[in-house]
Amino acid sequence: MNATTTLPTRKDEAWRYSAVEALDGVDLDAWRAIDVAAGETFRECLTIEDGPGTGASELRRLRVTLGAGARCELFAVIAAAELGRIEVEVRLAEGAHFELGGVTLGGRETVREFVTRVVHAEPGATSNQVVRAVHWGRGTGNFLGNIDVVRDAQQTDAAQSFKGLLLEKGASVNAVPQLEIFADDVKCAHGASVGQMDEMARYYMAARGLSPELSRRLLVQAFIGDAFVALDDEGERERMMAIALAKLDKHL
């Protein structure tokens, strides 16, 4: 037990659906700073995958500061650890853009989650967050997305889209969009939905010769593809997709 830091509990808003019990011994102060200078573009593809070094909890905490007209594009697959969590705090200066494409996958009792706080601190900045969650067993996928638009940040355009796909009965997803808007000329779109595999589509595919495993794989691929639409590097897109589908193949 680490005595110097107090661990969060589920009473903390940002840990509401998390697996806080998996956190023991994790350094919660380890934030990675990413500063993108005015006009520059930063892109990263992050993955939390099964491997020899994977612990009970895998946290990635990023603090992103975007200068005027700067861009940050993050794409991520969370497919490992009892608690796999990517947290991003973003501060956007004038005309900056933040893009997040995230996928969570998992079964058993695992929790995989994205927690973001996007601060539109100046006018004319845009953000787009797309998270797709595919879960089975008693797995949980979460997206807690805060968007803050300060008083002067006119012409903000912020979008958030979350969709959950539950492959088995005990799985669940939670979406918590939180918008705090203090400017008046603001576009803020957010949508969240949860569903199951389209059985008629699967039957149609079977009638053309696809096995149940293959039809499920194709439908999951189509579902999570949304998260990588904005990733305009085909090789990286395929790599991220392969990591996600490998997880599915391994466990179902």
Partner: protein, 247 residues
């Protein structure tokens, strides 16, 4: 090649097929007509193994094997093609990807080599041409945003690519304009008119049968075949209606 005997089937505990008997020989085209709700689509789905369609009595043999024992995808690999009355949309999956996976799955199940991307595209282009469907349509997601007629034409392109031995086509003609009807009719002939193939053509209208000449016409009513005749039966039905001809 297809032998249906005394078939009884139910959906959600409701009996729909009541002792249906029908045999399709190699090289034959059989048309099935019948009033709304008679059980035509149910027959198609039972043959295609759709979940929820439960066979309670009777048997179906296809090329000598028990069809009802096979999973839906195994039936496809065995050479059966089901043309849907309402083709299903699959957002996010392109026709090209879908059909290539489908064809190669079938080939694998039959112990054949998969087609390469290039070989597949050539085949797809060929069949799209046959049905006068723009190749660009095949790059789009399966049936998404297709008009009613385009869906039916795309189904026939699928059939051309998969090259089945038995086609069960459920109202493939509905939703087609006059020119498309001719194209689809000729497409069915080109793909399925062969000594070793068979067709079960479910339709409400005589018109398609002008292009695809049936060897037999059956009237399905209340879950069973109540009358069988030749191509002239369809003409009489069109002129006089089910009540007068098949009651």
């Amino acid at each position: 090649m297809l032998k249906i005997e005394n078939l009884h089937a139910e959906i959600d505990g409701t009996q729909i097929l009541n002792g249906l008997t029908l045999e399709v020989g190699a090289g034959e085209v059989h048309a099935i007509m019948g009033p709304n709700g008679a059980g035509k689509s149910t027959l198609a789905y039972v043959l295609g193994g759709r979940p929820g369609y439960e066979v309670t009595a009777g048997s179906v043999t296809f090329k000598g094997q028990d069809l009802l024992e096979l999973e839906p995808h195994e039936r496809a690999a065995a050479g059966m093609f089901l043309g849907f009355q309402y083709p299903v949309e699959i957002p996010g999956v392109s026709n090209v990807q879908f059909l290539r996976e489908a064809l190669n799955s079938q080939r694998k199940a039959r112990g054949e080599e998969p087609l390469t991307g290039g070989e597949f595209l050539k085949l797809a282009k060929d069949k799209a041409g046959l049905l006068k469907l723009d190749m660009d349509m095949l790059k789009r997601h399966v049936n998404v945003g297709f008009s009613g007629g385009e869906k039916k034409r795309a189904e026939m392109v699928q059939m051309g690519i998969l090259d089945p031995v038995l086609a069960v086509l459920d109202e493939t003609d509905s939703g087609l304009d006059i020119d498309a009807l001719r194209v689809v009719g000729e497409g069915i002939n080109a793909i399925m008119r062969a000594p070793d193939k068979g067709v079960l053509l479910i339709t409400h209208y005589q018109r398609l049968l002008d292009y695809v000449k049936p060897d037999y016409v059956h009237v399905l009513s209340k879950g069973r075949i109540v009358k069988t005749g030749d191509a002239d039966l369809a003409k009489r039905l069109e002129a006089e209606g089910y009540e007068a001809v098949a009651a």
